[in-house]
């Protein structure tokens, strides 16, 4: 029995789950079929398999950590209610991520929340830290420095148009493929590629302009962590 099947069977507490001994795709389809027939353990396994990416997708759209968990849970509740209507012709993951995107739009519409706005500019020290990574290819050392660079990158991404930032985050950080992004966001594959290429250019442009303004004005306060604006 494969590991996954063992795990599911264990969590099912002696409920037999006849998972196929075939590829990962077929195994997932089997899990979906079992979930459609009401096997809770199979649905729980589907959650475990996809929770990180759903979480990442919600986070890339909402950008507000405090709302991410609640919306991600809501996504899986909706999936549970409508899983019987899923016809297994498409990949389960694509269907799940589309539901995730729609749930995020609904949430933003209901809450009337704008994405994070970073108020302060980068300090000279922060720019030089970024410079070390970008031009000198000196990766950050230790978790504290990595966390700081991540925060600076978040600051830069917040300066981009929302869709650009989302595409870059999902592709470069979260590991979504161009084809997955095209399906989830209902875009042509080439359109995704062009937008990604231009988003990289815009991000570089943000960095260059911050660098030149930081060098010209001297030290400035650290970027204030985002505040979401309620409309």
């Amino acid at each position: 029995m494969p590991n996954v099947a063992k795990g599911v069977a264990a969590s099912a507490q002696a409920i037999p789950l006849p998972l196929a001994h075939t590829g990962k795709g077929e195994e997932e389809r089997e899990l979906v079929r079992l979930a459609q027939n009401g096997t809770e353990a199979a649905f729980e396994e589907l959650i475990r398999r996809h929770q990180r990416r759903v979480y990442a997708l919600v986070r890339s759209i909402l950008r507000r950590r405090e709302d991410v968990e609640d919306v991600a849970q809501q996504v899986f509740l909706k999936v549970f209610v409508s899983i019987k209507r899923f016809d297994l012709r498409a990949a389960f993951s694509t269907w799940l991520y589309k539901i995730t995107v729609n749930e995020c739009w609904d949430y933003l519409r209901k809450k009337k929340v704008r994405p994070l706005v970073y108020e302060a500019d980068l300090s000279e020290e922060q720019v030089s830290r970024l410079d070390g990574i970008i031009t000198a290819d000196r990766p950050p050392e230790g978790p504290a420095e990595r966390a700081e660079v991540k925060e600076l990158l978040d600051w830069m991404l917040a300066k981009l148009p929302e869709q650009d930032a989302r595409l870059l985050v999902l592709k470069e950080m979260e590991g979504f493929s161009v084809h997955e992004l095209a399906e989830i966001l209902d875009l042509n594959v080439n359109t995704v590629k062009v937008r990604l290429f231009r988003a990289r250019g815009r991000l570089m442009d943000v960095y260059r302009r911050r660098k030149s303004s930081a060098m010209a004005s001297g030290p400035s306060p650290a970027p204030e962590k985002g505040k979401a604006e309620n409309l």
């Binding site: 649905f43 509740l77 970008i134 990595r146 148009p161 594959v189 080439n190 590629k193 990289r200 991000l203």
Partner: protein, 165 residues
């Protein structure tokens, strides 16, 4: 928000440049792009401009997994929802039982009335039979004057009394 950047690359080569930056370009397409870059300064400049940002993006780590507790919480919420939808709506429960009581009382009353009506009809039929047995032959000589119910008997008796007076 910044959207001042204008790509200097040829639009038809931008998808290939993106594949190239992602390390996903190979074979004939890679050769085609390399050939194009030799002669197109715009595409070369755009490619050189965006290449360093990949180092910064590579530093960022993916979102961490929310952990096994997440699936447990979701399943608990699902069970909670199912229990809420499966259980009777308690707010209506008193009204529903009261309605059942009314229905039962009405049914009992209907049965009693029906029984009473049936027994009184039976008694009337018996009275008619007795009266018919005592009826004078000249009152019911043919089929046209045959008595069918108690009212006709009473009417005929009244008429015959009048005749005697």
């Amino acid at each position: 928000m910044n959207d001042e950047f204008k790509s200097s690359a040829c639009p038809e080569f931008e998808p290939l440049l993106e594949d190239h930056l992602s390390g996903e370009l190979g074979g004939a397409e890679a050769a085609r792009l390399a050939e194009h870059l030799k002669t197109c300064a715009g595409c070369r400049t755009a490619c050189e401009f965006v290449t360093p940002i990949a180092r910064l993006l590579a530093v960022a780590e993916p979102t961490t997994d929310p952990g096994p507790g997440f699936a447990h919480i979701v399943m608990a919420r699902i069970r909670e929802e199912q229990a809420r939808h499966g259980a009777p709506k308690t707010i209506w429960q008193p009204f529903v039982s009261l309605a059942w009581r009314f229905a039962a009382t009405a049914a009992l009353a209907a049965v009693v009335l029906l029984a009473y009506d049936t027994s009184s009809n039976k008694r009337a039929q018996e009275d008619i039979a007795v009266l018919l047995a005592d009826e004078p032959h000249d009152l019911a000589q043919d089929a046209h004057t045959r008595i069918h119910n108690r009212d006709q008997v009473l009417l005929m008796m009244a008429e015959s009394n009048n005749g005697k007076q």
